[in-house]
């Protein structure tokens, strides 16, 4: 059935994988992969350029959500927002980075499940508020963090926002992904109630909260261990 199937466009995938592993500049890797894929599918050069152009224009909403909040966030940072967020959290004696992130994971996942997916996000929530608070809680408990440990803590802040969003939004019935699944199955002649798709996502959504929550709980131990190691070494990194 697949005699006419052209496997050569997979070369584009190979370019991406190699490019990312060898850590070339991702912009360049993606551009080359797009051209290679087009050539392998026997598209003429003009068609390749045109589909790169149309694809780029069609997806302009993606940078919009990052770009638009930057002026506000930048202005507030100029006036000490991140430092204030660090101070604010250190007033709570029981606050730890892990507990803060578990709380955030819970709120992010449940609000996303109710359809409120914009109550978070990297430029407007993680960079100005969540990351400085997590860092502030860790520093007030364990002292200054070595660069490696700080990087891991901040990466966990971004990861927690992503995980809460992904696994929450997909159990909201009106979310685009549910509509997409419903439409696709309908096209294959299978009629499923969108509500059922949403409900059957709940076991996974609960599991991810438990698994990632456990990792966040252990993050506090990780921070404590490294603080001790650093104090034992006697020199701040």
């Amino acid at each position: 059935m697949n005699e006419s199937l052209n496997l050569w466009p997979l070369a584009g995938v190979a370019v991406i994988v190699l490019g990312f592993i060898l850590r070339f500049n991702p912009m360049l890797v993606v551009a080359i992969a797009a051209v290679v894929t087009g050539l392998a599918a026997h598209f003429p050069v003009e068609t390749i350029l045109a589909s790169i152009g149309t694809g780029f224009i069609k997806t302009r909403t993606l940078p919009l959500i990052i770009l638009l909040p930057l002026a506000v966030i930048g202005l507030l940072e100029r006036h000490g927002l991140r430092r204030h967020a660090q101070h604010w959290i250190s007033r709570f004696a029981r606050a730890t980075a892990g507990r803060l992130l578990i709380g955030y994971l819970f709120i992010r996942e449940t609000t996303a499940a109710l359809g409120l997916t914009s109550l978070g996000g990297h430029p407007q929530m993680v960079r100005p508020l969540l990351a400085p608070m997590a860092e502030g809680a860790a520093v007030s408990r364990h002292g200054p963090l070595p660069a490696q440990v700080r990087q891991r803590l901040l990466a966990f802040c971004a990861a927690t926002d992503n995980i809460g969003l992904f696994f929450g939004e997909d159990i909201f019935v009106a979310f685009g992904a549910i509509a997409l699944m419903h439409t696709f199955l309908l096209g294959a002649g299978i009629d499923v109630d969108p509500l059922h798709i949403a409900v059957w996502g709940i076991p996974t959504a609960i599991s991810v909260f438990l698994i990632h929550g456990l990792r966040l709980y252990r993050l506090d131990n990780y921070l404590a261990r490294h603080a001790e190691a650093q104090q034992a070494a006697g020199a701040p990194a």
């Binding site: 199937l5 991406i16 551009a31 780029f56 638009l68 940072e77 409120l116 993680v126 699944m181």
Partner: protein, 316 residues
């Protein structure tokens, strides 16, 4: 409609044009002309992109990729507020500094829910197909006004700050769009069909567990390649889900679809192709390791793939 997404494209275009002008005017910039050209091209894509011939846009995109790839996009000079002045502001405003920052997400939700489907006369107030984006734009503009008023600073300074963060992000700001474009190109070229063909030809799915694993892992791997679970779902569900899990093993379609999509999201957590979630945050947080966020996510994602396999096997 009254507030269409087109206005936001123009707004973004103007912000980027200002960034471009500030970069070109910055005599101390290490890559003054090349960075300026990069942001200028990006501004053009927002201002008049939909009216240009697609071939021209394609050439512009490749030019941006070459500028970025040869290290042509760099950070310019910036004068931060003096330490003392910063402390004075923080002391005066206290927790009120949080207000504009929290206003962005809260207003976005309020505007999106409050004005959804509202009409004045015959036209919708918000662009119905892009309500959340438009709401985010409205929220950002209001929050900016509040931030200027609270900090007694000027919109010009806000533009300088926007430029500082835009330049700090650099090409990472453009990457999500590049990857989405590549995803569309993959679809046009039939990459999905080729992958589904390889998976179904070379793997023996006579065992229920193997079939479940092929579907779950296939969704994850395919999402890693395409950067997006939505692109993987039709291919894997069409190739394995419908004919094998539903056709041969009579699984419940709702369970298969729901867990399949979540397996795709596990892939999203592990791939640099999902730049908006993985690479941009690393750039925003100024982490030296571009893959730090992915590294933090991989253990959760792998554990969830095991859980998804077991759940699908037990529930379907």
């Amino acid at each position: 409609m009254i507030l269409s997404i087109q206005y936001l494209y123009w707004l973004a275009g103007i912000i980027l044009a200002i960034t471009c002008a500030m970069t070109l005017a910055d005599r101390d910039h290490p890559r003054r002309w090349r960075s300026g050209l990069f942001w200028g091209l990006f501004a053009v894509a927002f201002l008049v992109g939909e009216r240009l011939p697609p071939v021209w846009v394609g050439i512009g995109v490749l030019a941006m990729a070459i500028l970025a790839g040869c290290g042509g996009v760099a950070v310019g000079s910036y004068r931060p507020l003096a330490e003392k002045a910063q402390q004075a502001v923080a002391a005066r405003l206290g927790n009120r500094l949080f207000i504009p920052a929290l206003a962005i997400p809260l207003l976005t939700v309020a505007v999106a829910l409050g004005l959804k489907g509202v009409k004045i006369g015959d036209s919708f107030v918000l662009d119905p197909s892009n309500a959340t984006f438009v709401a985010l734009g409205v929220a950002s503009v209001i929050a900016l006004a509040v931030a200027c008023w609270l900090t007694r600073d000027t919109p010009v300074q806000a533009m300088r700050e926007s430029r500082r963060l835009t330049e700090a992000l650099g090409w990472a700001l453009v990457l999500p769009q590049m990857l989405a474009m590549l995803g569309l190109m993959f679809t046009d070229a039939g990459v999905g069909k080729a992958v589904a063909y390889l998976a179904s030809t070379y793997i023996d799915m006579d065992y229920r567990l193997v079939a479940v694993m092929v579907y779950v892992l296939g969704m994850a791997l395919f999402t890693m390649v395409m950067g997006n679970g939505f692109a993987a779902f039709p291919v894997m569900t069409g190739g394995v889900g419908v004919p094998i899990l539903m056709g041969v093993y009579h699984g419940n379609p709702a369970v298969i679809a729901a867990i399949g999509m979540f397996s795709g999201y596990c892939g999203t957590l592990m791939t640099p192709m999902a730049a908006n979630y993985n690479l941009v945050p690393a750039a925003l947080l100024e982490l030296p390791d571009r893959y730090a966020v992915i590294k933090a996510q991989v253990p959760t994602a792998l554990a969830m793939l095991v859980v998804n396999t077991l759940l699908l096997y037990a529930l379907m």
